[in-house]
Amino acid sequence: MALRLKELAQKKDLLSGGHRACAGCAGTTVIRQVLLAADVPVVAGCATGCMEVVTTIYPYTAWRIPFIHNAFENVASTISGVEAAYRALRKQGKIDREIKFIAFGGDGGTYDIGIQALSGAMERGHNMLYICYDNEAYMNTGIQRSGATPHGAATSTSPAGKKIPGKREFRKDLTSILAAHDIPYVAQAVPSHWRDLMGKVQKALSIDGPSFINILAPCPRGWRFKENESIEMARLAVETCFWPLFEVERRTWRLTYKPKEKRPITDWIGRQGRFRHLMKEENKHIIEELQANVDYKWEQLLKRCEG
């Protein structure tokens, strides 16, 4: 299906309204965009976290497709089982439809506690798309730091204290870790660049085998910005090259969008309360460290994309 706004607007949202996400939550936008891109029936799973909690409070569900939540660290193995059941029943002629499988996990459920299950599922080659909606902290439990929280950011467990000004460590490059699994398709996306995001989802779903898309999902509560700025926050992450848009298709790295001009990281962090303490004179070096890290990762990516 071509990604024309006019046609997409006619399609039924597979995640209904009325769920309990905060105003301005980009996480639910990500899920809607992902599901809107699918042309065949989809079965989805979601790890414990904001997106699961806000969409399924019994006796309600926002999911208009079959959905399973199991636990925090195991959405990849849960969907492995669903997909294995599909193969088994299809082989026996008990199912004759084409069905696709999508696992959603937050950054906590993906970078940290669920990385083993994810790595195992990708290695086993299940026919599934894993989407990490990365809001850069454990939001559901009160904004604690994760392996995806950027250097310097204040969270409940890495507060901007008098002695320690926010998270000391750098975030882990999970997308590269997934690329190193040599699976058929790996990509990074953002909801501001919806056409890019949905195109990647379509590509991933058309591939036989495992695929992974890491999607930045700005969280107004955790990042501390205004509810109407989520999409802008996603865009700025791309324009500052903090969150480059690229894909790795059968080991070939390709930028899918290149900012005309690489903006300084302060254009992005300056808009978020979680980095406010970095603006103090004594913390300026942290911004420099952050910028140096963005520059390094960007250069590394450009080299990979040159081949």
């Binding site: 079965v43 399924t56 199991n70 990849a76 193995s77 059941a85 029943l89 299950a117 790595s119």
Partner: protein
């Protein structure tokens, strides 16, 4: 008709799985469960079964994949031991609470630390409150028979609970025994086809599994699990009777061995029951009024049947192959004593903790327990309520 073979407990369980032909098996190796998996892997490799065999990267993922596959409408089996079961723990509860009829062989092994690969029941007892039906096996034959019945019990629409069938590590899992296996067609006919009402793959009728459930509903859902366990009592007996028609081997909640007129009795689980039988036979030859109650089903706990079996007994020893540190006695002991309290049966109850970490239990030790019980009758009182059998103090 079936055929007589010599199989280890692991091969017996593996054979049951091959004959049941589950749609999905997800498992991870751990001693002493490994040969069971090897047996099944051979059957997959040779095309004897067309099961989707998901070789996950951990037991946590094994149970997670089992949950996903069962929710998708597949018949699912798995197997593990001790640390593997402990790693699954979180999802063991989730499987039961989502009412998914997964069938698992638990090859009993002591929990670490210290690390030990031999049999005790600390693993299965640790999982006693998880909401699984728990069926214990005395020998390879029972491992096999219990697994086949387990599928039918689990999938009954009034039950829909996962079933754990235990097999004492090494003592059963690695010991060759004479047993009968059924014809594969008979097994198929017996377990029938699994047709769940709601599945993830029924894309035209989307359902949500595992939603957030707050104080306004959670309690009712737990209550339904209680009721399902109650329903399971009836179904376990029905399935046991039906299995008897097929195999000639009948099964209930417990087996009363030489209990006719018994004044002294032992209650035991698993392979130890076989050893106790031998002692009982020898003592009966000498005219002693001793017997054994072999508990087959631990969850749901067979309250009425146990009381009936103990009605005429004067003193009973409860054998626990696991301990609950700091509690008053082992898990089987506390359970038995609790059902006796307030009943019209007066029987002295002693506890013997034995066999931890695979420590062997001898015929002499069991005979010693029966003489302890005689002492209680003669003295008219209990000296030591909780006893440790076969440990160096």
């Amino acid at each position: 008709m079936g055929k007589i073979v010599a199989l280890t407990g692991n091969d017996a369980a593996g054979t049951a799985m091959v004959q049941i032909k589950p749609d999905v098996v997800a498992a991870f190796p751990i001693t002493p469960q490994t040969e069971l998996m090897h047996k099944f892997a051979d059957a997959v490799a040779d095309g004897e079964v067309d099961t989707e065999f998901v070789l996950v990267e951990s037991e946590h993922s094994a149970m997670s994949a089992a949950v996903g596959a069962a929710a998708a409408g597949a018949r699912v089996m798995t197997a593990t031991s001790a640390n593997g079961f402990a790693l699954m723990w979180e999802i063991v509860y989730i499987a039961a609470s989502n009412r998914l009829p997964i069938v698992m062989t638990l090859v009993n092994r002591a929990l670490s630390a210290p690390i030990n690969i031999h049999c005790d029941h600390s693993d299965s007892m640790g999982g006693r409150d998880a909401g699984w039906i728990q069926i214990h096996s005395e020998n390879s034959q029972e491992v096999y028979d219990n697994l086949i019945q387990g599928v039918k019990i689990a999938e009954n629409k009034d039950v829909l609970l996962p079933v754990m069938v235990t097999s004492d590590g090494f003592i059963l899992s690695h010991t060759l025994e004479r047993m009968e296996i059924l014809d594969e067609e008979d097994v198929h006919r017996f377990v029938g086809e699994y047709k769940p009402a709601h599945t993830l793959l029924d894309v035209d009728h989307p359902v949500t599994f595992g939603p957030l459930d707050l104080p306004d509903y959670y309690f009712e859902h737990k209550r339904q699990q209680v009721l399902a366990m109650e329903e399971a009592r009836r179904v376990i007996l029905e399935v046991g009777k039906e299995f008897e028609k097929l195999s000639g081997r009948g099964y209930g909640f417990l087996e009363e061995y030489q209990m006719e007129g018994a004044e002294r009795a032992i209650v035991a689980l698993g392979s130890t029951a076989g050893t106790v039988k031998q002692v009982v036979d020898a003592l009966r030859e000498r005219g002693e009024r001793v017997g054994l109650i072999k508990l087959r089903v631990f969850r749901p706990f067979p309250k009425e049947e146990l009381l009936e079996a103990l009605r005429e007994v004067k003193v009973v020893a409860i054998f626990d192959r696991s301990h609950s540190f700091g509690s008053f006695g082992g898990p089987l002991f506390t359970e038995v004593r609790s059902v006796l309290y307030g009943s019209d049966i007066s029987v002295e109850v002693l506890n013997y903790i034995y066999g931890l970490g695979g420590r062997n239990i001898s015929l002499e030790e069991i005979e010693g327990v029966f003489s302890d019980l005689q002492g209680v009758i003669e003295r008219g009182g209990v000296k030591e309520r909780i006893n440790y059998l076969g440990v160096r103090e």
